[in-house]
Amino acid sequence: MQSAEMEDIEKVLRGKENPLLECKAQACPDLLRRELSSLFVSTNMNDGPLTVITFVQRTKYDMSAWSESVEDEREEVIENFIKSAKEMCSELRRNSQWADFVEPNSGRPFFSPYTNATFFETDERYRHLGFRIQDLGCCKVISHHKWGTHVFVGSIFTTAPADCEYLQEIISQANKLKEDGGDAHVSVCA
């Protein structure tokens, strides 16, 4: 499978794994691609390369629980995601590629025009990207294969091919982010 190969390439590029952040690119699965065309209406999503970058931040608190600390941590990681995603998108645009991401609170595209469609963190379509959506009865929570529900997941979409050099460079830069201790809350994560 392509995504498994990708993972290996990533590991080589990264040297070691970041314990707090997993940013990876994969070619958009076909089933998801069709769904995305209603979300990003200004771009032709049906043809050409399409890549999904998932930006997974490990959290101190379990996101399936609910408390003031959980809320606060969410605010932080969302803020951090939006900041990083904006940077990544502008970098990709400099390389003449279309790129956009989903704003987590509204589930709407950040740059593209408004539509009825949404793509939330708990959207079952995240299954296509290797995540699990757990059903808690009244609500749902996303779960990561290593970190379980101690995560926040955001996604960035671009027409850059998943294996192209500048994209891989962006990914590896992103993966170094939290290791450098750039964010205040990183220190609390053991």
């Binding site: 629980a65 609910w66 704003e103 509204s106 709407r108 950040f110 949404t118 079952e124 059903d135």
Partner: protein
Amino acid sequence: MLDGKVDALLVETIFDTANSKTALYAIQELFENENYEPVPILISGTIVDKSGRTLSGQTSEAFVVSVSHSFPTCLGLNCALGAAEMRPFIERIGQMTDAAVICYPNAGLPNTFGEYDETPEDMALTLKCFADDGLINIVGGCCGTTPDHIRAIAQAVKNSKPRTFTERRFPDDMLLSGLEPMRIGKNTNFVNIGERCNVAGSKAFCRLIKENNYEKALAVAKLQVENGAQILDINMDEGMLDGVAAMTKFVNLLTSEPDVSRVPLCIDSSNFEVILAGLKCTQGKCIVNSISLKEGEEDFIQKAKTIRRFGAAVVVMAFDEEGQATEVDRKVEICTRSYNVLVNRVGFNPQDIIFDPNILTLGTGMDEHNNYGVNFIKATEIIKETLPGVRISGGVSNISFSFRGNELVREAMHSVFLYHAIKAGMDMAIVNAGNLPVYDDIEPRLRDLCEDLLWNKDPLATEKLLEFAQSCKKKEKKDEKEAEWRGNDVATRLSFGLVKGIDAFIVEDTEEARHLYPHPLNVIEGPLMNEANKSDSQASSNAGTVVLATVKGDVHDIGKNIVGVVLGCNNFRVIDLGVMCPANKILETALQEKADIIGLSGLITPSLDEMIHVAKEMERLGLQIPLLIGGATTSKQHTAVKIAPKYSQPVVHVLDASKSVLVCSALLDKINKENLMDEISEEYEEIREDHYENLREKKYLSLDKAREKRLRLDWENFNPVVPSILGTKLFKNYSLETLKQLIDWKPFFDVWQLRGKYPHRGYPKLFNDPTIGQEAKRVFADAEALLSKLIKNDTLVANGIVGFYPCNSKDDDILIYSPEKGINSEPIAVLHGLRQQAIKDQAGFGCKEISQKYKVELDDYNAIMVEALADRLAEAFAEELHLRVRKELWGYDCKEELEASDLHRIKYQGIRPAPGYPSQPDHTEKLTMWKLMNVDEETGISLTDSLAMFPAASVCGLYFHHPQSSYFAVGKITEDQVCDYASRKGESVSQTEKWLNINLAYEPSSQD
């Protein structure tokens, strides 16, 4: 037949249950008195059409309850219907009976010549499905079947396993029936027995019977059932009346009125001949009121045996050879003796015994009578404790007999008495349903006087009450229910009168209407035909027909209503069946209206099961139309794993209203449909694989391990504060102005799918959002205007109740104690908890707790806006009450000052988890809360079959104030915890698995 040595007796083709009970009575008498060796009894009823009722009007469930006293070896159905039509009713019989299930249908429905067309192969195939689905034990054929049919059936089911039925159903419930079944169990609130059809108690009713005006007498019965009587008491004991004749005539008449005879009867007489007359013409399982040891043991046994053969429950008075018991000891002694005779010598089911420990008159002026109230309550407590299974009843109006003529005082006394008697364990009473004030609504002075009198706290209580009675004039009570419908316009009044069969105003209403129309015929064509016209006026040019429904047991419908509106705007013809919609109604409507799509909605977890049921039924009936699934608890995963495999046509989970149009349009277009279905089936297959893999992979701690790893709270440095009040506190008509300030607007905008994008997220920042800001402002302005109007006009009513109880944790449960007796007494209720087992951090219960519930009730359910606002107000009420609890009622956090926005972000100490949410996913815990605080009666908030709260804009929860308490998600749990939990709750494992279905980390064996 018995002389001819038959092996078994079959009472069959029963379309009138009363008739069959005669046969069953005779058979039992032969076995008991004539020394015939008992042979197995087989009973088979006949459901005459798809309404699911016998010719005499009983549902299949009520039928089972009515004949089960004869201990049939098997019970089932035959004749009238073909196998396919019989299926739902056979299924229901199996769900009610402890016996084997027999089924021998006709060879289909008769054709125009009265002949039966179904071939042996077709019939055999249908019946094989019954067998394979575990519905039946004995199978055969009735009218129109031939030896070929029987041969084919025998061949087809040869290798099928018969239905298993080891578990006893409803072991702790009293079962009664009228046309419909009634179950009185540990979760039943108090049962009202209507008292007005009593010639001894009601002069008006007595006059009607004497004047032979049975029409009006019937209206008295009807009104009581409408006012909430759950059982109807019939008493014809009057010197001037022929009791036997009057009882026979009146009971037969009641049987002809389905609105009345749907409830069980209570045949009430001191003359056993009159009781017999009543029993002979009652088809349901009724209550006999009463027998006692007054005439000695032999007489008692004789009467009890007769009653048992009729299958009735019985009220036993605390009366023996020496007279009526007035003291606690004597009451208990007589009841215990009666119990032993009934259970051990007559073979009575303890669940069918009701004791009446004599409610005697207070305030007679004689000192020795002053303890009568206390004695009843004490005796009730002891009897309930020592005689397992029995129930307690009594005639409440006796207690206030000294105050005849003063209804205000009498009704207050009744309420005060019941309030305490029910707490002590009284299950039912003969009362004037509809005329009981709520305890907290009684004028405080009057209430205190009644309390003093009841508990014998003030020797002068009687005098004071009489004084009080004279000082206040008798209040005229108007019949609000009547006034309400009489306030409508004339057309509505006419159709209401027609539908309800009320003829009292029909002449004047028709006359009034006649003047409004140019021609009298217009009245008939207009209001009188209103209903019929409605269904014909549908236009046929539309994109397709969609039947929408919130499934049985669920009352939430905002999302469904939005879908309805959106589809309607896109030229779909939408038939919205509203809330609490049973499967057969959905399917019938879909077939009748030639629907193109069915859409099901539900918000609470038990609705998921009901959706599976609907899908199965669609498959069974061979429907060829897509099924859409939506609503807050539904998920693509559940749809893919549990629902889609049950139905061979497309089943699609629809995330929100905006998606519904896309999906519906695609499904009705041939090419798009194929594409969509290919995608969906591929995706669902993936989800299913993933799900099963996940179940296998995931590691779980054993329950013992999980308990070891529980969260350990710091109790050393924690001093629970004693609340300022103990017991319940009711809030009625809470100020909506106050609540308005506390509304959390974010979810309101979510309803409208208006979500601000970073950095404009949340209220009020979303108004600055470039795309949706303007729209949000407009909706918000509309909402505020409507809200002000609603508040001004008092259209919305906010009622709530908070209860504080001492409590302790015990393992995973919370024991709740009576506020008076404290934690060294027996707990009065137990709230059960579940533990996380998936390997991760642990959180847990273990704090002082209190619970509260409230609701916002509304009159106008139509507008989505009103519903959305009502939901918001209910939530705001929750915040307001929680705030008052923290600052004042419990008072553990007096200093707290928070803004509304902080409240919604839970920046305070303590939590408020609710049943049905991740910290306690089991909805049945609501039953305990409801019972403990008498929520239904106090606030009018009730629970549906699936334990949704009604009205829908209601919220409930438990308060914990330990600073370390936090919300958590139980997640998936394994079989060891489910078994442990079930045994703690006193429920069967399969029952528990049903309610916790979504949390199971394994596939339960009882499901297919």
